[in-house]
């Protein structure tokens, strides 16, 4: 592949002039064709390199290696995608479970709050007003009435007194731990609050059931009447029990799982 031109036998003078002087011989045509082919091929090669990028020129073994690397990388990425999708599913379902558990916990907290007397309650029920003109209605009478109300299915109870017209005096929410004690000079001490007659129970529960339970012979109403008191029952569709008890935090007891 050494330059044969330099081994030319008879050097000719006036190279530039010859180059600029058109002559048409077969060899000239061949030279022109070759140069045209060269320009054509060069342009085609440049274009294909630009269009197809470096991969078009890569050799077969290089391409195989590149392909191997790409498929390895593909496998790794696919595995990563699977793992991420898995954790996404876990997180999504976990969020759903957590939300459901939270809603359930809130619902139970409300219900337990009604039972414990830490949240207000409303609903159908009745008012039992007890007057005590002879001051013979003692704490145990009220306690009997309370037990009867509970037995009849009362769900929220508050005890008020003294009731006069629209005034309801002191209000005490009745809960599991409610204690009724006779006052020293009349009246009844409920959970440390002194209530004076006339007393009134505001009860939320099934009005018909509770009313009939109160009115059975020898029952609450009878007992009060025997002691010279007056018992008035007044049912309502939308009563409100809004006296609240403070939430007692247990010092020793902890919830057991």
């Amino acid at each position: 592949m050494s330059s044969p031109q330099q081994e030319q036998q008879e050097p000719r003078a006036g190279g530039w002039r010859r180059l600029l002087t058109p002559r048409l011989r077969r060899v000239d045509v061949a030279v022109a064709v070759l140069l045209a082919v060269l320009g054509f091929a060069a342009v085609v090669q440049v274009r294909s390199t630009q269009e197809e990028g470096p991969l078009a020129l890569a050799r077969q073994e290089d391409l195989v290696q590149i392909l191997d690397e790409l498929s390895n990388r593909n496998d790794r990425l696919r595995a990563e995608v699977n793992a991420l999708e898995q954790s996404e599913r876990e997180l999504t379902s976990g969020t759903g479970t957590t939300e459901a558990a939270l809603a359930e916990a809130r619902r139970r907290a409300q219900l337990l709050g009604v039972l414990a007397g830490t949240v207000p309650a409303r609903g159908p029920g009745l008012r039992l007003t007890v007057s005590d003109p002879e001051e013979r209605i003692t704490a145990d009478v009220l306690l009997d009435a309370l037990e009867e109300l509970r037995a009849a299915g009362a769900e929220a109870i508050q005890l008020e007194g003294p009731v006069s017209g629209g005034e309801s005096g002191t209000q005490v929410r009745v809960a599991v731990s409610t204690a009724l004690v006779d006052g020293e000079d009349g009246g009844v001490v409920v959970d440390g609050e002194l209530l004076r007659p006339p007393y009134r129970f505001v009860v939320i529960g099934d009005p018909a059931t509770i009313e009939s339970a109160l009115g059975i012979p020898g029952g609450v109403v009878d007992n009060i009447t025997t002691r010279g008191g007056g018992a008035t029952v007044q049912t309502g569709d939308e009563l409100v029990v809004d006296a609240l008890r403070p939430l007692a935090t247990p010092r020793y007891a902890r919830p057991a799982p």
Binding site: P4, P11, R25, L34, A36, G39, Q45
Partner: protein
């Protein structure tokens, strides 16, 4: 003059036709182009030195291209195609540089 016009014509044809390189020719075309460039630079140098000959140019051009393609083809068959193409390009590149240097000395006398 005519060869230069032919070169321009080839470039224009390549730009306008926009052909795609056949897959079988893809490894050989770049080497063939470099080999042809070597022949052309040699021809220009010979022209400037006043020893240019058409037939020699045609033979050297064709044989350059064929030999370069053959070497790359052989390399492909032997499994060293990539390395041999690199070797051919390096050799041709050196020759192009030396020819370009000779041309420069002729033209600029430097």
């Amino acid at each position: 003059m005519i060869p230069a016009l032919a070169l321009v014509l080839g470039v224009v044809l390549g730009l306008t036709l926009e052909p795609t390189v056949p897959a079988a020719l893809q490894p050989y075309l770049p080497i063939a182009v470099v080999a042809a460039l070597d022949a052309v630079f040699g021809a220009v140098r010979a022209q400037l030195e006043g020893i240019f000959d058409d037939k020699v140019f045609v033979v050297s051009f064709v044989s350059n291209v064929l030999v370069a393609g053959l070497v790359v083809f052989l390399g492909d068959q032997l499994g060293v195609g990539g390395q041999l193409s690199t070797g051919v390009v390096v050799v041709l590149g050196i020759r192009i540089f030396s020819n370009a240097a000779a041309i420069r000395r002729r033209v600029f006398h430097a």
